[in-house]
């Protein structure tokens, strides 16, 4: 996780806030495939709060790790030494991820657009990029093979763009029906959790729509941080502030990582 310090009046960082909000949504999840960063932090926090039996799988082939620290990399010793088993990278992708066995994928995003497509490849032209990002990693197959996906990101107009420069990872493509036309049966992104609220695909159009506001945020704040005219659900729910206990647990996991 980034080391961003708490700013302003809130006693938590935006990263801590989104991690806590994402973790709460895992209460009924059985098996999750998580990326490293906010996704892994949220999944591990959930195992220590609302989902003690959450079974985790990471692309390093670690099956069922029970880490007591937040990992710095996908092959972190805290994952490797607490896993039920470690399988090879070809095996984790071919046997465990691809056949749609895994209930939920949890992914971060460099850029995400109004249909939940994710870019982690290039900003600008592919052949002459203005900014070269790390690339695909496991994300494209996590989003196509997990039965549903939760995306987590910090909310800013730089991240939330009308149309991604490059579709690294297919969300809802051009809108409703796109995934089905490609032969996919999985749901794709069912929620994008940010430090300002939660966006969910509209059931008719698949366009990301604001459905929940976090404690203290307003619709104007979220719209101001979104690069398109964001649709807002008729009824909004409200995400309570992180509790002292959630924050203490998260910070304990982070401190333990050194």
């Amino acid at each position: 996780m980034t080391a961003a310090r708490a700013t302003g009046v809130e006693p938590w960082t935006p990263t801590e806030l989104v991690t806590v909000m994402a973790a709460r949504r895992l209460a009924t999840t059985g098996v999750a495939f998580a990326g490293i960063g906010i996704p892994s932090a949220a999944a591990i926090l959930a195992r220590h709060t609302v989902a003690h039996d959450l079974y985790l799988v990471f692309e390093s082939g670690t099956l069922g790790p029970r880490p007591t620290t937040l990992p710095r990399s996908v092959a972190d010793e805290g994952l490797a030494s607490t896993a039920h088993a470690i399988v090879s990278v070809p095996e984790v992708f071919s046997y465990w991820l691809a056949p749609e066995r895994i209930e939920l994928g949890i992914l971060g995003a460099g850029q995400v657009d109004r249909f939940g497509n994710v870019n982690s490849t290039t900003i600008g032209e592919y052949s002459r990029p203005r900014v070269r990002l790390p690339g695909a990693g496991g994300a494209p197959e996590i989003m196509t093979a997990c039965r549903a996906t939760m995306v987590v990101a910090l909310h800013s107009p730089r991240v939330f763009v009308e149309r991604v420069d490059f579709v690294t990872t297919l969300g809802h493509g051009d809108g409703a029906g796109h995934r089905a036309r490609l032969g996919l049966q999985t749901k794709g992104p069912k929620a994008v959790v940010t430090d300002l609220g939660v966006l969910e695909p509209d059931p008719e159009t698949a366009e990301l729509t604001l459905t929940a506001l976090r404690h203290g945020a307003t619709v104007d704040m979220v719209r101001g941080a979104t690069g398109w005219h964001l649709a807002v659900a008729e009824t909004l729910t409200y995400e309570p502030a992180p509790t002292d206990s959630e924050l203490a647990t998260l910070r304990g996991l982070e401190r333990a990582a050194g």
């Binding site: 090879s88 490849t121 695909a136 990693g137 494209p140 197959e141 579709v167 995934r179 032969g183």
Partner: protein, 272 residues
């Protein structure tokens, strides 16, 4: 008296890695073969094609010293820290030399190694659906499934000239044992024409290590003891990842001059 390890490693790398070769350096953020990569840099190899799923700091150093003409990869970052600045500088600005890239998803590149190890003409994959990558990536195609008629993505095998990995242990005959996060090392060695395995220790008798990956001596060209050869990465059971170095690399690598000064100071600069 045995030859010192350092000169044995230099000699092995010199005999196995030549200018223009396709070299797989594998280790999925664990058992990363850093010392062998440093030997490649010290020897000033040029025009290499590097195959490495998770390029990491090792690749940043090879790129910044101009050793690579081409990189096949699936995720190029500094794990847990951020960007690989030398990689970005090469792709964005052609510095110090242009770098051609072929990028895959993890599932796709892993399957290219599997096809290479298995001697298959291609490998069907559950991969690349709906991504913008495919128009830019060679070695990914579509075939009609002869059983259902459905169009199915496939990848071509990869057969590197040489694979280099680091493992925990080998015996005197050269049988190799590695455990923990095993990545794609077995596939990389079996797919390659030649291979070099550096190990933490060489023992008379390999102890039983349930769950370990085994590479029999007859599948490996050369095995050498290079204890600590995976620093700043780690070898489970022997040492820990040097988190401070991974964090500090961000500052060292961000600026060309700082990078070059650091490489020279550590005997890795092209000028040294």
């Amino acid at each position: 008296m045995n030859q010192p390890t350092d000169s044995l490693l230099e000699e092995a790398v010199a005999s196995l890695v030549h200018d223009g070769d396709t070299v797989a350096l594998e280790g999925f953020s664990h058992l990363v073969p850093f010392e062998a990569a440093r030997a490649i840099i010290r020897q000033g190899r040029r025009e290499l094609t590097l195959v490495r799923m998770v390029p990491d700091l090792l690749t940043d150093q090879l790129i910044g010293e101009g050793c690579l003409a081409r990189l096949l990869f699936s995720w190029a970052g500094n794990p847990g820290v951020g960007s690989l600045h030398r990689f970005r500088d090469a792709v964005e600005n052609d510095w110090p030399v242009p770098l051609e890239i072929e990028e895959h998803t993890h599932a796709g590149l892993a399957a290219r190694y599997q096809a290479g190890a298995a001697g298959l003409p291609f490998m069907p994959v559950h991969a690349y659906v709906g991504t913008d990558l495919t128009p830019h990536v060679s070695h990914v195609g579509l075939v009609d499934d002869p059983f259902t008629g459905r169009s199915t993505p496939v990848v071509a095998p990869i057969r590197p000239d040489v694979a280099i990995i680091h493992a925990q242990r080998a015996d005197r005959a050269g049988n190799v044992q590695l455990w923990g996060v095993q990545g794609v090392q077995r596939e990389a060695v079996l797919a390659s024409r030649r291979s070099l395995v550096t190990v933490e220790e060489i023992v008379d008798e390999l102890p039983s290590q349930p769950g370990a990956v085994m590479l029999p001596a007859w599948t490996v060209t050369r095995v050498l003891p290079v204890p600590g050869g995976t620093w700043p990465s780690y070898a489970q059971g022997f040492n820990h990842r040097d988190e401070e170095f991974y964090g500090g690399w961000d500052r060292i690598s961000r600026d060309r001059a700082t990078f070059q000064a650091w490489m020279s100071e550590h005997g890795l600069g092209s000028a040294s």
